[in-house]
Point group: C3
Chain length 130, copies 3
């Protein structure tokens, strides 16, 4: 059991959902506070920017949950959790600032995320591994 524990790779999971209409993606203050420039450019290039912003938003929340850090006090800013597609279209997570520090302190070396949106709802799942 000790031996197994030393190879256990998953440290945390996170799920989140939101109505797309409840994510204020037409509010510039909200967008600039919570999304990086590259994320904003990507979302605005998509067929439905509100859906893309909402999917990314719940993705950030899911990643945050997977890190297992307290949402009180020195919580990671959502802008520090950047989600951009790789060349295959798979969303990749890059951590900056406090989120990066929190992940490093926990020994987390990989965060995976998947996003989905229907016409009305965006959901995301994230998994942090050590």
């Amino acid at each position: 059991s000790d031996a197994l524990a030393s190879t256990a790779s998953v440290a945390g999971v996170g799920v989140d959902q939101e109505l797309i209409s409840s994510v204020p993606s037409s509010n510039p203050t909200f967008v600039e506070r919570n999304f990086t420039e590259a994320e904003i450019a990507y979302c605005r290039s998509q067929p439905s920017p509100p859906s893309s912003f909402a999917a990314r938003w719940v993705g950030k929340e899911a990643v945050f949950k997977s890190l297992g850090v307290s949402s009180k006090g020195a919580a990671a800013a959502m802008k520090d959790i950047e989600i951009l597609p790789d060349e295959s279209g798979v969303p990749n997570v890059t951590l900056h600032g406090d989120a990066k520090t929190a992940a490093h302190d926990k020994g987390i070396t990989q965060v995976l995320v998947s996003l989905s949106h229907s016409e009305t709802v965006a959901i995301a799942f994230a998994q942090a591994s050590i």
Copy 2:
């Protein structure tokens, strides 16, 4: 491939969702049958007890699915799957009774869960590792 398999840590995953309105959290018999005293105290202390009960309920279902045991016959009672927040607010799973036995028999040493609710829907994801 044999070597890789011996370090593969994830044994099962589970997802579940329910309309919050479909979880009969105002029915004392349902609540007492399916939730521990600590879970009941926690849910009743939350801003929206129906949402908290519903999120926990789908969490129990997701954990049950992740254990990969048959839902027929000697199924684990939902009360045996206890989900309580740790000091950071991260939901932790503790197994009791038949659920604990089933997990032990499969060599499962860790069960992670994440919960989410919108105004109308609760969803949960769980992952069992060996």
Copy 3:
């Protein structure tokens, strides 16, 4: 960190959701193109075939996402991702054709999936491990 990375087992995750009403499970062409004979027989034997087809459909999409392959070009046909219950009712994934080749090329040895449907929405989560 190098040592840890060599035992990291999760290669990709995938989540998907659809309104059950948006999956054209009464269209024979759609069904025969995307589901194996065994899947069709199973779904038609269930209490609500449209729900079962929809859950399986989002399961295939979630598995596809977890494989991390491009959705452009030589994408895996959904029929190559077969999801059938084992004797405990746990959905098991079998890959065929291009999906099998893509998974093999990435060293993926295990794909787990979980399905859920409410009255209106089907969701699925998948995880691919190396």
